[in-house]
Symmetry: C3
Subunit: 471 residues, 3 copies
């Protein structure tokens, strides 16, 4: 059977010769490499319980904020798309929502979402038709039937997708129940947790103080004194490492860090604990905690990830009506140079520190991150994040980072997704784009084909293992 | 006769195969579509009076700030280019100015100005020679002779250019004299006004308070109370709609909006009315007025355009000597995320609101506007504006907006020009670039040719009608 | 002998037809033009004394902060790379450092450093092997032997590299000893100094006040009154002109300028002189000095260069351990619109003023510098600077500046380097990229081949002479 156009084997590769032929040589050598997924948001319950996915809608539509936001932007209602409301009022059922999605699938032309979904429908279900009103029901039924088979169970999907390692992300207070279960079944190592302490480092999240006290209880530390608070993290990081964690992750509105004197830190903590603080204090607390995390990373060797610049829940009404993670987060400008200065001057030359920086502000690439990563031994650049994890996003990234950072200060790829089925698609896009980029440079005689081959393999597989210190 | 190089039929299309052949298929299908011009600055007197244009210089040189600025930047004097002085001192006459322009036409190589002028000379006058010292007089005479013929009268030009709809832009206090005349002649609908109330929303424009009182007189509202001020706008918007207005337009140094409580609004208005305000108050007044305009748009369905980020009249000496709009305006950084937050949280989910955002800060495209337009139902992205309405500007725009906003959150094209003859040229550049972009994606198997064809037609014609709610 | 891949004659030229053939026509016409080097940091002692270079390591590794930073970023130690320490502790010797460099040369794949070094090894030493552990010793020996020959003496290198003019850069207090010697030998004109008064305009540099008093002594002016301080500069600029200076250069963290009233200036100076000033005063002093320099430039016609946006010595530990210029400088965001406003409004229309602006913030290109240079007669845009003096950097630059500034507001190329041997390589990359860019536009019928030919020659040679007023 001939492949339909949207699944063309050459897709994304350079269209013009001589780069096309070179890319066609490079890509097959990396296409089938195992997947290293050191940062993401898949649900650990899937792998712990290995139960069937509920429905096509629950798999492809309801949890995918990329998809929901686009449908919403063209006037579709979240009620009709089956997104639960806090007030419990009725919403569309799964099949009705699916049909609406299918009828509007043309809105995704040109978006990464379409390429991920097209790819997922094909690799997981053998579907080559494009989603549309005409195909909605048939595709729904095909998926629904397949989901009942052993081949589509979560662990089987990890195998089929050649996932060698996958990291989930849990908050500091998470009981890691699913990871306990996976430990008992020998799954830890292939599945790993990641320590994301935003729940106890960001004073502006609702319920922060309660959680901070829970954090003390959980770890047996006195979190009302600064050293006790740090001990609680030290303790908790160790627990996470038992469940495979090689990294911590930090989501912040800015890249601000701080390096306060001990007395200042204690005074700041007291203002936070008594609620007598202003927004500048909240910034400062987050900023100081980044440096503390870096110092703990120097001790324990966990790799530190900084995701800076997401403005969360910009639609207050939507947040109140249905909760977070429904598409209302948007990027904002980031200043990495000033932001990281205190942290890097405190411990940026420590051989044990590894800080991987991500940005949603592409103006950081050439102006800040590449020059900085090309200087500080501790700093690497994470792959294009979120909105920029896309063909054009990857092209802009490689265009802007390689010349100043080289290829070896890049942390390879990670899919950063909660959509399990999109994982192979996302890695595949990255690999195609990397091969296309390198092929172009080979065609311009800037790189030998042998170098291109090495770098393509490195960026497709080994770079992520190295960057995240995965043995 | 063979086309000279600068009018080559393939100009701007991708040079390399296979994209070139695909673009050559796409472009002819959109090249001759009618022009929708929903935002621009042509003089309504032209269409109302339908009189001949005065001279080649008055048509191509004196009113074109793109052209003037470039000549000035290379040391030519505005006196020698025939730009009137406020002190009435002598300036060059039309033909002398034209010769100087022609002698320096090489300065425009690589600029959109040159492509617009080359195109204009050809489509309107059949001139295929390039402007130069050698051709200056002959071209001047050809144009001057042609301008005396019926074919070159303003209304005939609309026909020849296939302009289906064209909007002019008038301030809130404008008497709309020319539109009255056009109404009588049945021209409204094809020609439309646009409500641009900057004259009564920006306290820092000279003469603001006088105008605000005139605004009250004109509308019979008490503009010293906030609700009266808003009523005055409500009233005036209705009048503008009678003359075809489907949109409002707002030119602001920043994208700041506000959502004050009623008492705060009244207090602010009082500070403004008494002149007891500081620059922050002026910002706040403009910001609050944006949200008020959005609320009125929710009521009356007029489409709201925000042109943010132009720093006006940066050369104070030039402003004093000859006035505004002579090239001294420059772009500046814009923050759309924080700026629009109050407005969008007030009414960004209202189905009746349509806000089209334009920027001169291209870093907004991928970081802010595309993610936001891909979420908020009310928000669309306007085409590349001003300095960026150019081949490279359009490429950067499509590169950066499509993946996160999709094609259907784009407002199509508008020419935004006061240069009537450049209108077909500008639309043609947009259409060529859109076809080239889509052809490239088809060549990379990211898009079917059928999709590309649909999107090319949409972005060339229907998108603008839809975005501006033109029936 | 066939050229090895990394020295391919078509390198960097467009890979796809028809642009490739056009570029191959354009490039040979500019490849051999003499080099104009109006801004750089070569050591005047080289040309004055014409002595052999000490060693391969001293030539290629130790002084090259681009190379050092990359090696450091991947964990190599500056001790092992032979970088002197202030505490005098032992460091690696030249050959050991060279071997380490060679063993890690793969880190430079894709960086401009590699292309410069590959090119230098070839043109100066006839070496076509790539550097690696295997070739380290042989290449070291080849270079070391060659350095002892007359062909590799500094002045001979200027000849071989076809350097027509080269400017060094000296601080205001520099005794210009080497230039005195060169004057006696008739070298001034080919070698020129540049007036870089940062040592006496930046209050935050260590030792500033002492130097300011020295400046008064050296010039016989009373630097405690503002007019005396300006006179000291006037005087010193004249001395520099005697040694060929056609330009001044100003390195600043921001693009801030100011235009204070006389009394404010004197009060500011007094705060600076008594040390009773805060960081805002330091900013203001630097800002005001920029405008003063512009006013002096109006008097004496020296071309003013502004290099804005470098954050210096971001690694305080490294600075303390080994000093500056070892890779710890990084770019930061710049605001040229607001920054230059006071200066340009004071004298931006003066025919005698020429201000060449450089940026490390590429978002300035299309948003600020191109629109501003396309308006102000005094303003030109310098070539891509530092991290952006690279193939992709040049592409982004041309993409973003040409349409609004035209080709004739660009200052051509300068190499800005302290690495003598890299000079031909850097100019060659620029020329190749310019030809590739123009070829692409010719292929898209945006430019005639004749225009492309003229512009390629202009940007390769004459533009720099014109911009810097080199007769």
């Amino acid at each position: 059977m001939t492949q339909p156009a949207h699944l063309h084997p050459d897709r994304l590769l350079p269209a013009a010769e001589p780069a096309r032929s070179i890319a066609r040589e490079l890509y097959p050598e990396v296409a089938e490499l195992p997947l290293i997924c050191p940062h993401g948001h898949t649900d650990p319950a899937w792998f712990a319980n290995n139960e069937r996915f509920a429905s096509p809608t629950a798999l492809f539509l309801t949890p995918d904020h990329y998809v929901l936001r686009m449908l919403r932007s063209r006037g579709l209602s979240y009620d009709d798309l089956g997104i639960p409301r806090k007030d419990g009022k009725p919403i569309a059922d799964g099949r009705a929502a699916w049909r609406l999605f299918a009828a509007n699938y043309h809105l995704f032309v040109g978006t990464p979402s379409k390429s991920w979904i097209d790819h997922s429908l094909h690799w997981a279900f053998g579907i080559t038709d494009e989603l549309s009103s005409d195909t909605a029901d048939a595709i729904y039924d095909t998926i629904d039937t397949a989901l009942a088979t052993p081949d589509l169970l979560p662990r089987a999907l990890l195998d089929r997708a050649r996932v060698e390692v996958i990291a989930t992300t849990e908050y500091a207070l998470d009981p890691l129940t699913h990871h306990h279960k996976m430990e008992a079944e020998g799954l830890i190592g292939r599945v790993r947790t990641t320590y994301r302490p935003d729940d106890v480092t960001n004073p502006e999240r609702a319920g922060f103080l309660d959680r901070l006290h829970q954090f003390g209880d959980l770890t047996g530390e006195n979190i009302t004194i600064w050293s006790g608070l740090i001990n609680a993290h030290r303790n908790r990081r160790e627990v996470f490492r038992r469940f495979g964690a090689v990294a911590t992750d930090h989501g912040l509105p800015t890249a601000l860090t701080a390096d306060l004197a001990p007395l200042e830190k204690q005074a700041l903590l007291e203002r936070i604990l008594t609620g007598q603080y202003d927004p500048e204090d909240a910034d400062l607390f987050r900023a100081q905690m980044m440096t503390e995390m870096a110092l703990l990373a120097v001790e324990d060797g966990m790799v530190m990830q900084l995701h800076a610049g997401a403005r969360r829940n910009t639609d207050a009404h939507l947040l109140e009506e249905r909760g977070p993670d429904l598409g209302g987060d948007v990027p904002s400008r980031v200043n990495y140079v000033d932001g990281l200065q205190p942290l890097l001057n405190r411990c940026g030359n420590e051989p044990n520190l590894r800080l991987i920086a991500f940005t949603l502000d592409e103006s950081n690439y050439a102006r800040e991150l590449a020059p900085m990563a090309g200087f500080w031994p501790s700093l690497m650049i994470g792959p294009p994040w979120w909105f920029h994890d896309s063909p054009q996003g990857i092209r802009r990234y490689l265009d802007q980072v390689v010349e100043s950072a080289g290829f070896y200060n890049l942390a390879g790829f990670n899919d950063d997704t909660r959509a399990l089925l999109s994982i192979p698609a996302r890695h595949d896009v990255w690999r195609r784009e990397v091969c296309g980029f390198l092929a172009q440079w080979v065609a311009e005689h800037r790189l030998s084909k042998a170098s291109a081959r090495d770098i393509a393999r490195h960026l497709s597989y080994q770079a992520a293992k190295d960057a995240y210190r995965i043995a």
